[in-house]
Each structure stands twice: as structure tokens, then as C-alpha cells.
């Protein structure tokens, strides 16, 4: 097996954590209540921690002397391969929770299966990240139910968040030659098996939250190929500012 596929997969995995972590970090100091502000920032820090391990490992696999920091801060927009879902703006609290929930419901079964990966390092990263992700999913599921089955206004607003974000969910399960090669070699689980677990989770939570999955068929994709929405440039200018303005600075 060539390392190229593993490297590209690790970038996807790491970029998902990195970009969502960066997005959530924007909530710091702006949470609806102090307790939730800290909860969101804790999740952001978990994600940045995951990104650090995954991207460091990606750098090792690539073998060109790039570490996690170099990969996180010094690539161009088209070289990031995170899901489009994760770069969408925070919106209101419901939008942020919905984005997080749709992702957590995918990440939990993914990490559960990656623990059995033939790649030892990836398996260890999955094992550590799974514990964090289980909590994230629990936290966001409860919020989806509270908001959906809450007041008339909270119900309408969380339904609207779902209506807006649902079209980004197909991309989560799209596969290409990278996934196929890794699955063939026992590094990656089959994504279609994870999709059925994901669907079960979101359907049962949405049923309890009394919100409905929209029926529109319009689906966005492109993140895995480095084709991003207009929001990505702004995220990167925040994320990369220090390294671009003061190359090689450390603190």
C-alpha cells in the first residue's frame, strides 16, 4: 500500500477536527450562558487536540519534514480537505449545535471502528478521541431534543438550522480512491456501514426532538477535493494570521 492514500486520509480527518475546532473557538466569550460557553470551548479544545495528533502523524507519514503546525498553518485553501459542513458559519446557537450534532453522530461510529484499524497509530488516536466524541454527541443530542421539543420559537429555529445544514450531510459519506484503497487494506472501515449507524442516530434524536429531515435533494460537496465555500478564506485568515505575519514564530 502506498503512503499517499494514508496521508491524504489523515489530512481529511485532521482538517475536519481543525476547522470545526477553529469555528467553535469563535464562541469563546459569546456563549448563551457561562456554563455553555465553557462547554463549547471544551469541545473546541478537544477538536484542536485531535487535529494536533492527527496532523502530526500525517506529517510523519508524508515524510517531508512537515509537522502538525506546518500542516495546520501553512497550506493554501485548496489544500485543506475538511467537509463543507464544518466551515459553515456559527449562526445562532442552534445552528452551531446542529452542525456539531450532525458531525458527532458520524465521528462516534467512525472512531469506534477505527479502533480496529490495521494502522496502530490511527487506532490509538481513535481510542483517545472516541471518549471525547461520546461526550460531544451526548451534549449535542440533548440540546437538539431540548430545542426541538422546547418552545415554539426554539422548535422553529432548530428546524431551520436542520433545513439549512442537511444538504451538507451527503458529503460526509462520499468515498473516492483514497477511502477505497484504505478500506481494501484494512486501515479504514467501510463508510457505508457507518452511514447506517449515523442515520439511525440522527433519526431517533430528531424524532424525540419532533423535527423533520427536509426532503430537498440539493446536495453540496467539494471539501474533500479542496473546493470550499466562500467562508473558508475568512477562517484561514484568522487561523493562519500569526504564522503568515511572523513566519516561524513560536509561543
Amino acid at each position: 500500500m502506498n503512503n499517499e492514500a494514508l496521508f491524504r486520509y489523515l489530512l481529511r480527518l485532521g482538517d475536519d477536527s481543525l476547522i470545526l475546532g477553529q469555528r467553535l473557538g469563535e464562541w469563546c466569550g459569546h456563549g448563551p450562558i457561562l456554563e455553555e460557553d465553557i462547554a463549547l470551548t471544551n469541545i473546541a479544545l478537544d477538536l484542536i487536540g485531535q487535529a494536533t495528533s492527527i496532523l502530526n502523524y500525517a506529517g510523519e507519514v508524508e515524510g517531508k519534514g512537515r509537522d502538525g503546525d506546518k500542516l495546520a498553518f501553512l497550506r493554501f485553501e485548496h489544500e485543506y480537505t475538511n467537509l463543507l459542513l464544518l466551515e459553515q458559519p456559527n449562526g445562532d446557537f442552534g445552528d452551531t449545535i446542529m452542525r456539531q450534532f450532525l458531525f458527532d453522530a458520524f465521528r462516534k461510529p467512525l472512531f469506534e471502528q477505527l479502533i480496529h484499524s490495521g494502522d496502530k497509530q490511527l487506532s490509538a488516536i481513535a481510542e483517545k478521541s472516541l471518549k471525547e466524541t461520546k461526550y460531544h454527541l451526548r451534549h449535542t443530542s440533548e440540546w437538539i431534543i431540548r430545542l426541538g421539543d422546547g418552545t415554539e420559537e426554539s422548535h422553529q429555529r432548530i428546524q431551520k438550522s436542520l433545513d439549512n445544514l442537511w444538504r451538507y450531510t451527503d458529503e460526509i459519506f462520499m468515498t473516492d480512491s483514497v477511502d477505497e484503497e484504505l478500506t481494501k487494506n484494512g486501515i479504514l472501515p467501510d463508510l457505508s456501514s457507518i452511514r447506517s449507524i449515523w442515520e439511525e442516530t440522527v433519526k431517533s434524536v430528531f424524532a424525540e426532538a419532533t423535527i423533520t429531515i427536509p426532503t430537498n435533494n440539493w446536495k453540496f460537496e467539494g471539501g474533500r477535493r479542496g473546493r470550499h465555500s466562500e467562508h473558508m478564506g475568512y477562517i484561514l485568515s484568522d487561523l493562519q494570521y500569526m504564522q503568515r505575519a511572523y513566519p516561524n514564530m513560536e509561543w
Binding site: L34, E35, E36, I38, A39, N42, H139, E142, R146
Partner: protein, 95 residues
């Protein structure tokens, strides 16, 4: 406090097996589930605990500070209630 504000909860954390839960602070939450999660996020982020109790502050009853005289001072003069009048035999260790 406005009528729409969530109730206040008192948080107790057990730092390790065998120790008591200790009061660490309070927070606001809509119900017990949320209170436990908020406590986890606010009070255990630096590995402070392995078990959390939350109690709605309404249910904590406290003595009136103006009662201190009759509540606490009478025991100040009863030093015989402390076990300090025993001779400890030489053979006893770890006392």
C-alpha cells in the same frame, strides 16, 4: 433574578476514591441532566474529580447566621468532648 432564569444548583465533587464529595461551587441549569453536564464542563476540566453530585440550591437549608450564638458557642467550653484526655500506650502506632 428574572423569572426566566434557570435554577441555581450546588455542585459537589469527589476528587478520588475514598474521599468525600466536597462543595466546589454553583451553576445554573434547566434540569438535573444539564446541571451534571455543566458541572462536568465547568468544574472537572482539569481532572478534579471522578464523581459529581448536584443539588438544586432551593433544597439546601442553612441555619440563620444570627443564631450562631446558641448554635455554636455552647460547645466552645466543652473541651472534654475532644478525645484528648487519654494516655496513648507506647505500643500504639499511627495515632
Amino acid at each position: 433574578m428574572s423569572a426566566t432564569e434557570w435554577p441555581l444548583w450546588e455542585v459537589f465533587i469527589r476528587s478520588k476514591q475514598g474521599l468525600n464529595h466536597k462543595h466546589v461551587g454553583s451553576l445554573r441549569a434547566a434540569d438535573a441532566t444539564m446541571a451534571l453536564e455543566n458541572a462536568r464542563d465547568v468544574y472537572t476540566r482539569r481532572s478534579e474529580g471522578i464523581s459529581i453530585w448536584v443539588v438544586e440550591s432551593n433544597y439546601v437549608h442553612a441555619n440563620d447566621p444570627s443564631d450562631s450564638e446558641e448554635f455554636f458557642e455552647p460547645s466552645d467550653t466543652k473541651i472534654y468532648r475532644h478525645p484528648t484526655f487519654y494516655d496513648v500506650p507506647d505500643g500504639v502506632k499511627h495515632m
